[in-house]
């Protein structure tokens, strides 16, 4: 993640180290996908150069552009970041003044052939101002010294009406009262798009509870690297605040040495609970998993489902529930055969599916899985990954052995 305040005035040079000038402004498309299309450069002899973004190679201590480049002119629907967005008044949908744009956050998208920047949101908090004044980290350290944590206040791009922006207003599509701080899940999504250094930097300034929620929403790779890098005491304090099952997932993902260090610092009661869960997890669910299950999209009708059953489940050894997924293949609902048969042939499944899904993860100890199945009287329980995508199911048949051993 980049902030405009951090790149404004950055040196621009070509790949063979010829200095061109300094970054003055960015040009972006006023749309739902606010791609940065051009750079405005103040050249060494004070001339203004507008450079198409496709010539940008990378950004480090300076912005590197290709050796050969052409200049450009503005096209329709393009706006200047600094001139048209930064420092402007933000109003909500009914015209109440809310705050000004203190900074703009950008995100790099890197693939083999493409290098692109997108605007991701506007910083409307105190940090945006402090960052421009170059005293952000000083302030954060001071606050931390007094034990105060302030959450950054970002408005995601999705809240801003692009059409109004072209008319010179920074207008939101919501009323002020409905505008809450970014939800932890959204922030986690947002952070996953940036690199780990930024994630760490970001989490450092968050309020502990909020940070813990954000951490638990990150994917396991991020979680692993965070806990591998953090001081053990910091890790421990975050662990205490997130759900024990999730904490175990994370602990199992990091090195054993590190795990011991962290666990050692966790508060006694939580520590015992986590230890227990870890020991249970050695009897993991992995070998109990079956991939014999049926998923359907939520717009399938009963009729569609029945033909899908006929087509796909002929060789299933066990069949009790049908799982509903969305476009991202995430599990969003479930229903059993009885419920299916009770509805008309043309009823779509989303009308009757159960959305409150009981699920487990790969790292869930088998004992907990069994407990859940017994408690909710489930013939099978779905196993999902961190993105809520279904990996398989654990059926009652497969845990019967385990139960009889315990009895």
């Amino acid at each position: 993640m980049l902030y405009f305040s951090e790149i404004e005035g950055k040196k621009i040079e070509t790949e063979d180290k010829i200095e061109i000038g300094f970054l003055e402004d960015l040009v972006f498309l006023a749309s739902a996908q606010p791609k940065v299309t051009k750079l405005v450069i103040r050249s060494l002899n004070k001339e203004k150069i507008i450079l198409p973004f496709q010539y940008v190679v990378k950004i480090n201590s300076s912005i590197v552009i290709k050796k050969l480049y052409n200049m450009a002119v503005l096209v329709e629907n393009e706006l200047f970041l600094k001139k048209n967005l930064l420092d402007k008044q933000i109003i909500d949908i009914v015209g109440n003044k809310i705050v000004r744009v203190n900074d703009v956050s950008l995100q790099e998208k890197i693939s083999i052939n493409h290098y692109e920047w997108y605007l991701t949101g506007v910083d409307v908090g105190l940090f945006g101002i402090l960052r421009t004044l170059k005293i952000e980290s000083f302030f954060i350290n001071c606050m931390r010294f007094f034990g105060i944590h302030i959450a950054p206040n970002l408005l995601p791009w999705g809240l801003i009406q692009p059409l109004e922006l072209s008319r010179g207003h920074v207008k939101l599509n919501k009323k002020e009262e409905k505008l809450q701080n970014l939800r932890p899940e959204d922030l986690a999504d947002y952070l996953e798009k940036t690199n780990e250094t930024n994630v760490r930097k970001f989490l450092k300034i968050l309020d502990k509870n909020y940070a813990a929620e954000v951490v638990s929403n990150l994917n396991i790779n991020y979680q692993r690297s965070l806990f591998q890098h953090w001081e053990p005491d910091k890790s421990a304090s975050v662990l205490e605040m997130i759900h024990p099952e999730e904490a175990v997932d994370i602990l199992l993902a990091i090195s054993k040495k590190r795990r011991e260090e962290i666990l050692h610092l966790v508060e006694q009661q939580t520590q015992e609970e986590l230890q227990l869960l870890i020991s249970l997890s050695r009897t993991s669910i992995g070998n109990k998993l079956t991939t014999e299950f049926l998923t359907v999209p939520s717009n399938f009708t009963v009729n569609d489902v029945i033909s899908s059953i006929k087509k796909n489940t002929a060789d299933f050894g066990f069949f009790a529930a049908i799982y509903v997924i969305n476009e991202k293949k995430q599990l969003i609902g479930v229903f059993n055969l009885h419920e299916l048969l009770m509805h008309n042939l043309d009823t779509p499944v989303y009308k009757f599916m159960i959305q409150n899904i009981i699920e487990i993860r790969l790292t869930t100890p088998i004992e907990i899985a069994v407990r859940k199945m017994l408690h909710y009287r489930l013939p099978a329980i779905p196993v999902v990954n961190n993105d809520k995508q279904i990996l398989g199911i654990v059926t009652f048949d497969q845990v019967v052995d385990y139960i009889s051993q315990k009895m």
């Binding site: 930064l86 402007k88 933000i90 109440n96 809310i98």
Partner: protein, 428 residues
């Protein structure tokens, strides 16, 4: 007389009536700002220079009236044409760094001004045997209630009522039985002026108490909050000139009241607030009480208007809702800044070890630093064709505005430099 003539006379009459109505509908902001420029600190300064230099200072008033009219008019015009406050303009054109610096400077300087007003109230209340702490608490509570609860119109009317009480100075001045011929002629023809170091400092102090950064901010924001339409711009301009005249009309009587008593009898004042008691032997009980009441009233007006300026400026710089017409819930930050400004000043004024003299000194210097910046913003904005369109400064007006600004800036720099070097001794 033919019918046609008759009807045209009527239409002239009618349109005069309409114009008068429009004038009264837009009347308020510039006059109130002008009145508030004569806050308690202002009254103290006028009393002091009146006592020390007599009528000779009156000629300076004429110049100040002119400067005030020109500078306030620019602010009012920019506000009505662009629909933006001075804070909005600074933020959008010069970015967040400049905004933070100007706001912090303004906040500190305004705290100083509010402190000066609070302490004037305190001293005056003390002289009339009123429990000053209790009185301060009452005044702050009342100010807070009517700012939060009242809308723009209520507040404007309270300010105007408060402005009405400035008439007390006229009574005090008449009771002092001055030499009216000399007084009035001193305004237009410099008389008995001695360009000593003290005189120059005093003149600059008078200028500095009338033309202030907060005054520029306030008139801008307050006109904006009234939501005056661009069609009525010329009425507001007339009001601005009227307001500038009114400020110094009252200043004239303040100076006359002390000049004809204290200066005439060679009695020196330690501080301006004592003027109310000091004129008693010469002007009588009524004049003294009215003068004291005038200071209380001016102090009240000053502390409310200056705190309000801080709140307006914050809202503009940082883009939160800030209007007297919005409820507390809708404009929370605005009202909280107002209350904070008052409370911080009230807290400092009640610390016994704090030297008021130093605070006033420091405030003067800070205002002196801020003023040049203010005029830079005003002049660049009022000369910006994109923002102002056809309402841009005309060529001659611009020359006058630039010369006025330079005079004010030189005076301001003079204050700063001499304060830093420790040359000035006015107010002591």
């Amino acid at each position: 007389m033919s019918t046609q003539e008759h009807s045209s006379t009527q239409s002239v009459l009618f349109s005069f009536k309409t114009r008068l109505l429009i004038f009264f509908s837009i009347f308020g902001p510039a006059t109130i700002t002008a009145m508030a420029d004569n806050d308690a600190a202002g009254v103290a300064t006028y009393s002091l220079v009146g006592a020390k230099f007599g009528y000779s200072m009156l000629f300076i008033l004429l110049i100040i009236t002119f400067l005030l009219a020109i500078t306030q008019e620019m602010g009012v015009r920019i506000a009505i044409v662009t629909g933006k406050g001075l804070g909005d303009i600074i933020r959008e054109r010069y970015g967040v760094t400049m905004s933070v610096f100007v706001f912090v400077g303004l906040f500190i300087a305004n705290t100083g001004t509010v402190i000066a007003n609070l302490s004037a109230i305190k001293i005056t209340a003390g002289m009339f045997n009123i429990n000053s702490t209790f009185f301060l608490i009452c005044i702050i509570t009342i100010a807070t209630i009517f700012i939060i609860k009242g809308n723009y119109k209520t507040n404007q009317n309270i300010f105007l009522l408060s402005g009405f009480f400035y008439l007390t100075y006229i009574v005090s001045a008449f009771k002092a039985r001055p030499d009216w011929n000399l007084a009035i002629s001193s305004v237009f023809i410099p008389q008995n002026m001695h360009f000593s170091k003290e005189f120059i400092f005093a003149a600059i102090a008078v200028l500095g108490t009338t033309i202030t950064p907060w005054g520029q901010f306030f008139v801008h924001s307050y006109v904006l909050d009234k939501k005056i339409k661009i069609d009525d711009l010329k009425y507001t301009q007339i009001e601005t000139y009227f307001g500038a005249f009114l400020t110094d009309f009252f200043s004239f009587f303040m100076i006359v009241a002390t000049a004809s008593t204290l200066y005439a009898h060679k009695i020196s004042l330690v501080s301006g607030e004592q003027a109310a008691l000091a004129i008693k032997p010469f002007a009588g009980e009524l004049a003294s009480v009215l003068f004291g009441f005038g200071i209380l009233n001016a102090g009240f007006m000053g502390l409310v208007v200056v705190s309000l300026t801080t709140a307006y400026a914050f809202s503009e710089f940082f883009g939160v809702e800030g209007s007297l017409d919005k409820s507390f819930g809708k404009s929370k930050t605005f009202y909280i800044i107002f209350i904070m400004q008052l409370l911080i000043a009230a807290l400092i004024v009640n610390i016994p070890s704090v030297s008021l003299f130093r605070i006033v000194f420091f405030t003067q210097s800070l205002n002196g630093i801020l003023l040049p910046a203010m005029f830079f913003f005003l002049l660049t904005a009022s000369n910006n064709k994109d923002m102002m369109g056809k309402y841009i400064n005309s060529k001659w007006y611009n020359y006058i505005a630039i010369i006025s600004s330079i005079v004010i800036i030189i005076a301001a720099m003079f204050t700063v430099i001499s304060n830093v070097l420790g040359l000035s001794n006015i107010g002591g």
